[in-house]
């Protein structure tokens, strides 16, 4: 690991996100995922001051059929390269890593990452016969037992956490409640009515022990990021959000089964890589953006990245610690649970805007370092600094 970290340090602060954009988030049956992605892309170009012709790397992602070739055709672009990594939401951090590497290697000068999601319009349920996620082989291996959906995999992990550490659904509610408070300060957020612990507890189960409010939303929207090299970034309109550290660690063993290890033996390696490359410690992090398809992700991420010990996240997330104004604000935009389900892409937008000091009522005071964490069999992290 140390020799990798030594070499990765050459990439520390070498690239940056310079432009961010988002379409409206919600229910848009009249448009498709390309249209939503393109709306976001225009906003991101406008944000940084680059023009379409400057883009020579085109990364395109979404939960449905969305292609970088078709997107390039619509844009009238022949970039040096296009790319996608079709593993669902965990791909988001990975694609930003890859963009940073393309830029640092000299392969590309300006990379656009465009995300388009028409899940609500298309009636996508993230479960049932239509789902096939490579890398989540259990998702179709046991249909005949009625086992399906990423939510079920997280529900198994939730019960394991409850059983092993004596944590409770009531404690887990603190994650959803904190993020709803944040969403109420975010004009882009879909869910802006107050949510309390009792309402969480009384909400219906989707896959028990996970309640409705432990689940992400399913909605339509687009997000875009523009990334470039540090030297180019300094000449653009906005204060750059530098990519200071990246971390990645996969888990393939026993991946046909719902995960039983909570990724304890693998995920910490992604943390070690990211902190080692950035040359910072956890204490330097001003806020966390955690991939929250389900509330339990936040616990697993906090524990496996060392913010608390395994089993302690139940206590750790109580009493406002992860809320704005608390010791370690998490998902200050409201996340997937309350803002919008853009599979981690709006988490990056929020990180960038926090580092610009552009978050208004939900601004983390003097935010200098923001970290993104995605737990999964493909775990990733990004440390951003301004």
């Amino acid at each position: 690991m140390q020799n990798k970290i030594d070499r990765l340090r050459a990439l520390r602060d070498a690239t940056a996100i310079v432009g961010v954009g988002a379409s409206p988030q919600g229910n848009f049956p009249e448009v498709d995922q390309y249209t939503l992605g393109l709306q976001a892309f225009r906003a991101a170009l406008d944000d940084c001051g680059l023009c379409k012709q400057d883009i020579d790397g085109l990364i395109v992602q979404g939960p449905g059929n969305i292609s970088f070739v078709r997107m390039g055709e619509m844009l009238g672009l022949d970039p040096t390269l296009g790319a996608n990594f079709s593993i669902g939401g965990p791909a988001t951090g990975v694609l930003i890593h890859h963009a940073a590497m393309l830029l640092a290697s000299g392969m590309c000068n300006n990379v656009a990452l465009i995300y388009g999601n028409s899940s609500r319009a298309e009636g996508r349920k993230f479960g049932g016969m239509t789902v096939y996620n490579p890398g989540q082989e259990y998702a179709n291996a046991f249909f005949y037992y009625g086992l399906t959906s990423p939510g079920a995999a997280s529900a198994f992990q939730t019960r394991m956490h409850f059983d092993e550490y004596g944590t409770t659904s009531r404690q887990l509610a603190a994650v959803a409640v904190a993020q709803r408070k944040h969403a109420m300060l975010n004009p882009l957020a879909i869910m802006r009515q107050p949510l309390g612990v009792e309402e969480h507890q009384q909400s219906r189960y989707v896959c028990e022990p996970l309640h409705l409010y432990d689940y992400c939303l399913i909605n339509d929207g687009g997000v875009a990021l523009i990334m470039t090299t540090a030297d180019r970034a300094r000449d653009l309109k906005q204060k750059p959000a530098y990519i200071s550290g990246i971390g990645r660690q996969d888990t393939y063993r026993n991946s046909s089964m719902p995960n039983t290890t909570l990724w304890r033996d693998t995920m910490p390696k992604a943390a070690e890589m990211a902190y080692g490359m950035a040359g910072i410690s956890r204490d330097d992090v001003d806020a966390l953006m955690i991939y929250d398809s389900f509330s339990i992700n936040v616990w697993i991420s906090l524990e496996n990245f060392g913010f608390c010990k395994p089993g302690e996240a139940g206590d750790f997330t109580q009493n406002g610690r992860i809320e704005l104004g608390g010791e370690l604000p998490v998902n200050t935009h409201g996340g997937h649970l309350s803002e919008s389900y853009m599979q981690g892409w709006l988490h990056q937008v929020e990180a960038v805007r926090q580092l610009r000091g552009a978050c208004g009522a939900r601004q983390v005071e003097d935010a200098r370092i923001i970290q993104y964490i995605c737990r999964a069999h493909v775990a990733s992290s990004i440390i951003y600094r301004n």
């Binding site: 479960g127 016969m129 249909f143 037992y145 189960y205 028990e208 022990p209």
Partner: protein, 140 residues
């Protein structure tokens, strides 16, 4: 009205023997001929020792409940009548982790560590699916 069928297994060359045995109401899992580790689901190579050779070994069908979830949302029309239904992870006495449904017990009465035993449900001409219900303590 015709009954809406539940999804059937998707058979691959690797696990075809598994389904042949379940049709005969036998639970057999693929085991490495060299290091004797079970491979479930079946695999072309042993992840532990790299050996290719394997045999299909009969297992007892007894195990303990490791974890479970209960589906309250219907993702498959064939399961609509069974909502809420459980899906369980069962640690077989021989070691491998197994996925199945546990029947014959209320979902609310499921407990980690409870003893379970396999039985076989013939769901079509071609397929028999192993399921579990409460079993006896070992040694009784």
């Amino acid at each position: 009205m015709a009954k809406v069928q539940k999804p059937l297994p998707i058979v691959t060359p690797l696990d075809e023997p598994y389904w042949k045995f379940t049709q005969r109401h036998e639970l057999r899992l693929q085991r490495c001929s060299r290091c004797r580790q079970f491979r479930f689901p079946a695999s072309a190579v042993c992840p532990e020792c790299d050996a290719d050779a394997a045999e299909w070994i009969a297992v007892s069908g007894n195990g303990t409940l490791f974890s479970w979830v209960v589906f309250h949302k219907c993702y498959f029309p064939g399961f609509a009548q069974e909502i809420p239904y459980n899906v369980a992870m069962i640690r077989l006495d021989e070691g491998p982790m197994f996925i199945s449904n546990v029947t014959g017990v209320d979902n609310a009465a499921l407990r980690k560590g409870m003893r379970l035993a396999v039985y076989f449900e013939d769901v079509s001409e071609e397929f028999t699916i192993p399921k579990f219900r409460p079993g006896q303590d070992p040694g009784r």
